[in-house]
C-alpha cells in the first residue's frame, strides 16, 4: 500500500494541473483539429460538412495571402531566433561585467517586456508615422523629404514591425542569459587567461558551452513566440499594406472571425502547431540529451 501510494504520489500532485490542461488545452485543441476537416461558418445552427483535407489543400494551392503569411511567419521566426538571441546574449555579456550604471541599463533593456503588446504597437506606430519622431530625426540631417512611409511601404513595413518586436522582446532572453552567466564560475576563465586564451576563445570555449541549458530555453521560447506573433501585427498594420505583413496568427483571425471560415481558421492554427512541434520537440530532446551527457 505504502509503496503503491509512493508511486502514485507524484501523479496525484500532477492531477489538478493535468485536469486543467485537459479541459483548457487538450480538448479544445483536438476539437479544433477535428473542425479543420470540416466546412463550417461558426453558427451552431448551420450545417457542418466534412471536406477531408480540402481546407489544407486550398490553403497551399489557392490562398495567396496564406502563402505570404506562411513566408512572413517563417522569416519572422528565423529572424527572431537569430537576431534576438545574438543581441540578448551580447547585451547580457556586457551587462554581466562590473560597469557603472549596470543596474540602470539592465532596467532600461528589461522595461519593454513589462508593457502590453498593444501599448508597444501604438507607441511605435506613432514613431513610424510619416511625421513621427524617426522621420523627424532624419529631417535633422536634411533627409526629411527622402524619409519613407515606414508602415505604408510594402518593402519596409514588415521590417519596421520586426524592429518593434526586437525592442519589445529583448528583455526576457536578456534576463535568462544574465541568470545563466551568473551561474558560471570564475575559475575556468582564470585558467583560460593563464593559458593565454583570447576573449573570443573564452566566450566560445567556456561561456557558450556553459550556457547550453539556458540557450535551449531561450531558443525554444523565442521560436514559439515568433510563430504565434499577432498583437504587434494587428495593431501596427492590420496585416497591411496590401496584406504584406500578414502572419499565420493574424490570417487565422481573419479567416475565422471576418470570413466565417472556421474550418480554414482551424486548419491554419493546426499548421502552426505542427510546424512548431516538428522543430521544437526534436530540438529540445536533442539539446537536453546533449546537456545530460
Amino acid at each position: 500500500m505504502t509503496h503503491r501510494f509512493r508511486v502514485l504520489k507524484p501523479w496525484l500532485f500532477l492531477f489538478p494541473a493535468a485536469v486543467i490542461y485537459l479541459i483548457v488545452i487538450l480538448v479544445p485543441s483536438l476539437y479544433t483539429l477535428g473542425l479543420s476537416f470540416f466546412t463550417w461558418n461558426g453558427a451552431a445552427t448551420a450545417q457542418i460538412t466534412f471536406v477531408g483535407w480540402d481546407n489544407y489543400i486550398k490553403l497551399f494551392t489557392e490562398d495567396t495571402v496564406f502563402q505570404l503569411a506562411l513566408t512572413n511567419t517563417f522569416l519572422w521566426t528565423v529572424g527572431s531566433v537569430l537576431v534576438l538571441t545574438s543581441l540578448a546574449l551580447l547585451l547580457a555579456v556586457v551587462l554581466n561585467r562590473q560597469l557603472k550604471g549596470r543596474t540602470f541599463f539592465r532596467s532600461v533593456f528589461y522595461f519593454p517586456t513589462i508593457l502590453s503588446g498593444i501599448v508597444v504597437a501604438f507607441t511605435w506606430r506613432w514613431m513610424f508615422h510619416p511625421e513621427g519622431v524617426i522621420n523627424g530625426f532624419l529631417s535633422l540631417f536634411g533627409l526629411g523629404d527622402a524619409a519613407p512611409s515606414w508602415l505604408a511601404d510594402p518593402s519596409l513595413a514588415f521590417g519596421s514591425v520586426f524592429v518593434t518586436s526586437l525592442w519589445f522582446g529583448i528583455g526576457q532572453p536578456l534576463v535568462l542569459f544574465l541568470a545563466g552567466l551568473q551561474t558560471i564560475p570564475k575559475d575556468p576563465y582564470e585558467a583560460a587567461i593563464i593559458d593565454g586564451a583570447t576573449p573570443w576563445q573564452q566566450f566560445a570555449k567556456i561561456t557558450l558551452p556553459m550556457l547550453r541549458e539556458t540557450l535551449i530555453i531561450v531558443l525554444a521560447t523565442i521560436f514559439i513566440g515568433g510563430m504565434r506573433v499577432y498583437d504587434l501585427i494587428f495593431a501596427m498594420t492590420g496585416g497591411g499594406p496590401a496584406e504584406t505583413t500578414q502572419v499565420l496568427a493574424s490570417w487565422m483571425y481573419y479567416q475565422t472571425f471576418q470570413f466565417n471560415h472556421v474550418g480554414v481558421g482551424s486548419a491554419i492554427s493546426w499548421l502552426l502547431v505542427a510546424i512548431s512541434m516538428v522543430v521544437i520537440v526534436p530540438y529540445v530532446r536533442f539539446s537536453t540529451r546533449q546537456a545530460e551527457q
Binding site: G42, A43, A44, P130, G238, A242, N260
Partner: protein
C-alpha cells in the same frame, strides 16, 4: 399531523408565490457598443423604471470585441436576447443561420412603417423578413472646411470636374486635398465607392455589389485608375495607405486638409475634440449621376430566435423603447442619426438633419456591408496594391473578380 400539514401547505404557498413572481420577472441579456454607454445606460434605467418586471443586463463591447463575442456566442448557441449589429453582410450572418426573430408581422401589426424611416426598415430586412429593430440610419457625405474654402475661393463642387479642379487648387495651396486613411481599408473605401458610383452609375454599382456583373469592368478599372492618379498627384496624406483613420480624422479636425467622407457621428467627434462642427459644411459627392445617392448603412437591434416567447416579447419591447421617438428626443444630443421618421435634431450635431435629408433622395449600402467579407478583403487588398503600384488597375479588378468567383463556388 395537523401541524405537519399546515407547515407543508405554507411551504407550498411560498413556493407558489415565488414561482409566480419569477414568471412575472423577465431577465434579458443585451449586448451593445461600449462607446454608446453614455446614453444607453440612462435609457435602460428609464426603461426599467417604467417596466419593473423586466431586468436588462447590458454588456458593452468595443467594435471588434462585439463582432468576435457575437460569433463565439453564435457558435455556442448562446446569443444574448438582443444585440446591436450593423446591417449588410455583418448582420445577415445571424439571419441566414436562423438565429434572429422575424419581426415582419410585429412591424405590420404595430405600424412600424410610420415610426421608422423607410430606408432604415429596408436596410434591416433580409430576404423579405424584417430582422432587426432599426436604430441608426447613417448616411456618409463629404465634409469640407468652410473658412479654408472661402479663403481659397473654392465653391462647393456640383460636378465631378469641379471637384477635381478644387483638388488642384487645394494642392497648389499646400493643403492636403483628400483626408483618407488606408489601414483596415474601410475609410479609403468610402472614396472608392463614390468613384464607383460615378463611373458605373447607380444601376451598375448596385449590380457590382450584388455580384450580378463582373468586377473586371471598365468602371472598376477607371475607379482604380482615378485613385492611383490622385495618389500620384500627392492628393492624399503621406503614407496614407498605412495610416489609421483615427489619425487622419483627428488631423482633419485640426485643419489643413480638404475633403473627408464621414457620417453623422463626425459632429460628435468634432465636439469631443473641442472643435466647432459648424466650421465644416457637408455636400453630396458629385457623382454626376441622377439621383445623387449617399453611401449609407443601418444599425439595428436583432432579437434572438432562441429566446422563450416572454423573453422575446420583452426584448422587442426594450428595442422599441431604446429606438422610439420619445427616447430619441430625450437623448438627441448624444444619440446620433436616429432611424425614426422626423427625428429631432441637436444643436450639437448640426449636420445630422442635412445628411438625413440627403439620404432620403437616394442611397446605396456601404461597400463593406454590401459585399461578402471575402470579397471586401480582396477589394481592400486590390486598392492597396494598385495605389502601391504592385498591381495595375486591370489586375486589381481581375483579382476582385477571382474572389467573387471563389465566393460563388462555395
Amino acid at each position: 399531523m395537523r401541524k405537519v400539514l399546515v407547515v407543508l401547505a405554507t411551504l407550498g404557498l411560498i413556493a407558489g408565490l415565488n414561482t409566480v413572481s419569477a414568471q412575472a420577472k423577465v431577465k434579458l441579456a443585451f449586448w451593445g457598443l461600449s462607446d454608446q454607454n453614455s446614453f444607453i445606460t440612462p435609457i435602460l434605467a428609464d426603461f426599467q423604471k417604467a417596466n419593473p418586471d423586466i431586468t436588462v443586463e447590458f454588456t458593452g463591447y468595443s467594435i471588434d470585441a462585439l463582432k468576435e463575442s457575437l460569433k463565439v456566442a453564435a457558435a455556442a448557441n448562446s446569443l444574448p436576447d438582443l444585440w446591436f449589429t450593423w446591417g449588410g453582410s455583418l448582420g445577415s450572418f445571424y439571419v441566414e443561420n436562423g438565429m434572429t426573430a422575424d419581426l415582419t408581422a410585429t412591424a405590420k401589426a404595430e405600424g412600424w412603417g410610420s415610426t421608422y424611416n423607410k430606408a432604415a426598415l429596408s436596410l434591416s430586412t433580409y430576404g423579405g423578413k424584417l430582422s432587426g429593430v432599426p436604430y441608426h440610419l447613417n448616411a456618409m457625405t463629404t465634409f469640407y472646411p468652410k473658412a479654408l474654402f472661402a479663403k481659397l475661393n473654392i465653391k462647393e463642387p456640383k460636378t465631378f470636374a469641379e471637384f477635381e479642379a478644387s483638388l488642384k487648387v487645394l494642392k497648389a495651396n499646400k493643403v492636403t486635398p483628400l483626408a483618407f486613411a488606408g489601414k483596415n481599408g474601410w475609410h479609403l473605401m468610402r472614396l472608392t465607392e463614390v468613384l464607383l458610383e460615378h463611373f458605373a452609375g447607380p444601376a451598375g454599382h448596385d449590380d457590382l455589389n450584388a455580384l450580378k456583373t463582373s468586377w473586371k469592368s471598365p468602371a472598376v478599372v477607371k475607379t482604380f485608375a482615378k485613385l492611383k492618379e490622385w495618389a500620384d498627384l500627392g492628393y492624399f496624406p503621406k503614407g496614407f495607405v498605412a495610416l489609421d483613420p483615427q489619425e487622419v480624422e483627428t488631423g482633419y479636425e485640426a485643419g489643413g486638409m480638404g475633403y473627408i467622407i464621414e457620417g453623422p457621428w463626425y459632429d460628435g467627434s468634432m465636439v469631443s475634440g473641442g472643435f466647432d462642427p459648424l466650421s465644416l459644411n457637408v455636400f453630396p459627392f458629385p457623382t454626376d449621376q441622377k439621383p445623387v445617392r449617399m453611401s449609407s448603412f443601418a444599425e439595428m437591434f436583432q432579437i434572438s430566435a432562441q429566446s422563450k416567447d416572454a423573453q422575446r416579447a420583452a426584448a422587442i419591447k426594450v428595442a422599441k423603447f431604446v429606438t422610439g421617438p420619445e427616447t430619441v428626443a430625450k437623448y438627441i444630443d448624444a444619440y446620433g442619426s436616429s432611424a425614426v421618421v422626423g427625428a429631432p435634431t441637436s444643436a450639437k450635431a448640426p449636420h445630422v438633419k442635412p445628411m438625413a435629408d440627403l439620404v432620403g433622395q437616394g442611397n446605396f449600402l456601404v461597400g463593406d456591408q454590401a459585399l461578402p467579407q471575402e470579397v471586401v478583403q480582396k477589394l481592400f487588398e486590390a486598392t492597396d496594391k494598385v495605389l502601391l503600384k504592385v498591381w495595375t488597375p486591370d489586375q486589381g479588378a481581375a483579382a476582385i473578380q477571382t474572389a467573387v468567383d471563389s465566393y460563388k463556388k462555395k
